[in-house]
């Protein structure tokens, strides 16, 4: 009796193994396939650079209207909601000197410089701490220096917000859609539970357009390739004194300020 039961179990085990592997093989065969002959390409219109960077000429930005026009340009094309609480979402915003250039210890700044508003956005750092801490690779750095997010992958852990030394990231505590008056139908919104930030308009560069804030700035914001000595950003940096935010921490920001 005991041997027959043993044999029965052996055969049953083998049969189950066979069934299992054959269905696993079937499943592997059913895995989705690319269409034979289809290819992916950068497209004809895209703008390329080795290292995209931005120069903000703060001397050319004066009034609240200047800042609001630029902020509105970015936030309206990217469907950034205006939430009037501490749960606000911002891709580009302003603040005062002592909160922007916190490394600068000068006690007696000129009041004009101290009182002025400065535009702030993600710095697209050369060494981005947000990328290092993101556990899902939802935040990553592209070959052209732009630090972007894949919202599909973001799990909302907010490590990147703790990691970013510039407060450039916002978290969606709730559904942002009720706070969007006019939705740009050509760009997605975000959903509850993901982080978002400035993309350096990578989606616009790929179709041959400069960033929306650059276009709306009437020449106060320059954009170009930091590795190309003839680019508008390199020319502006060669001719003017410029500073960056928190240079001492080694992130190497890609946004320069002419003050």
């Amino acid at each position: 009796m005991s041997t027959t039961r043993r044999q029965f179990l052996k055969i049953a085990g083998l049969a189950a193994f066979g069934l299992g592997t054959s269905s696993a093989l079937d499943a592997a065969e059913a895995v989705a396939k690319d269409m034979p002959g289809a290819k992916y390409d950068v497209g004809g219109k895209h703008l390329a650079a080795k290292r995209w960077a931005m120069v903000i000429d703060t001397r050319k930005l004066e009034s609240r209207e200047d800042y609001d026009r630029i902020i509105h340009a970015c936030h309206s094309v990217h469907n950034v909601p205006s939430i009037p609480t501490k749960q606000e979402i911002k891709w580009i915003w302003t603040d005062k000197y002592d909160r922007v250039f916190t490394d600068d210890m000068s006690q007696h700044l000129s009041p004009a410089v101290r009182e002025k508003d400065y535009l702030l956005l993600c710095n697209h750092c050369e060494n981005p701490p947000c990328v290092r801490v993101c556990p899902t690779k939802a935040t990553f750095k592209r070959a052209d220096g732009i630090v972007v997010m894949d919202y599909h992958r973001c799990i909302g852990c907010r490590f990147c917000m703790a990691g970013c030394p510039y407060g450039a990231r916002s978290f969606n505590f709730g559904d942002p859609r009720p706070y969007l008056k006019d939705v740009n139908p050509a760009f997605p919104t975000r959903m509850r539970g993901v982080v978002e930030k400035c993309t350096f308009c990578s989606e616009r560069l790929e179709v041959g357009l400069l960033p929306a804030c650059v276009e709306a700035s009437n020449g106060a914001i320059l954009f170009g390739d930091l590795d190309d000595p003839n680019s508008p950003v390199r020319k502006a940096l060669a001719e003017n004194f410029s500073i960056r935010r928190k240079p001492s921490i080694g992130t190497q920001p890609g946004v320069y300020y002419i003050v």
Partner: protein
């Protein structure tokens, strides 16, 4: 047989319950492929309809990675035609009737993809 008057009806009930999925399936109406609203002004999709029906989620998955991570926003289809990689600006331009295209099929197959939590559905269609 001992207790035959209990065992036989018991077996009959057991077999009836056990085969419930089979006979209930025979009694309910057959699954019919839903009638979808096709774009009026376009004859063919980016790839053959059979392939799109089976693999559109795979295409979207690859499109996302190619566009976001590789910076490649042009899809050269197997027939050589070039398309911008964009769910909102390419797919939904033709398939503007989301309710009678995407939703109808997804509903009858009991799948609820969350594309539209972020991607904006075409207007005049909600």
């Amino acid at each position: 047989m001992y207790n035959g008057k209990y065992i036989i009806p018991g077996i009959v009930i057991f077999v009836g319950l056990f085969t419930f999925p089979f006979w209930s399936n025979l009694l309910t109406p057959k699954y019919e492929r839903p009638q979808l609203a096709m774009p009026a002004d376009q004859k063919e999709c980016i790839e053959p309809a059979e392939y799109m029906r089976a693999e559109h989620m795979h295409i979207l998955d690859v499109w996302r990675d190619q566009a976001l991570r590789e910076g490649k926003r042009a899809y050269v289809a197997s027939n050589g035609k070039v398309w911008d990689i964009s769910l909102q600006n390419t797919c939904m331009k033709c398939h503007a009737n989301k309710a009678d295209f995407c939703d109808k099929c997804h509903n009858s197959n009991s799948v609820s993809p969350y594309c539209w939590d972020c991607h904006v559905a075409p207007r005049g269609n909600q």
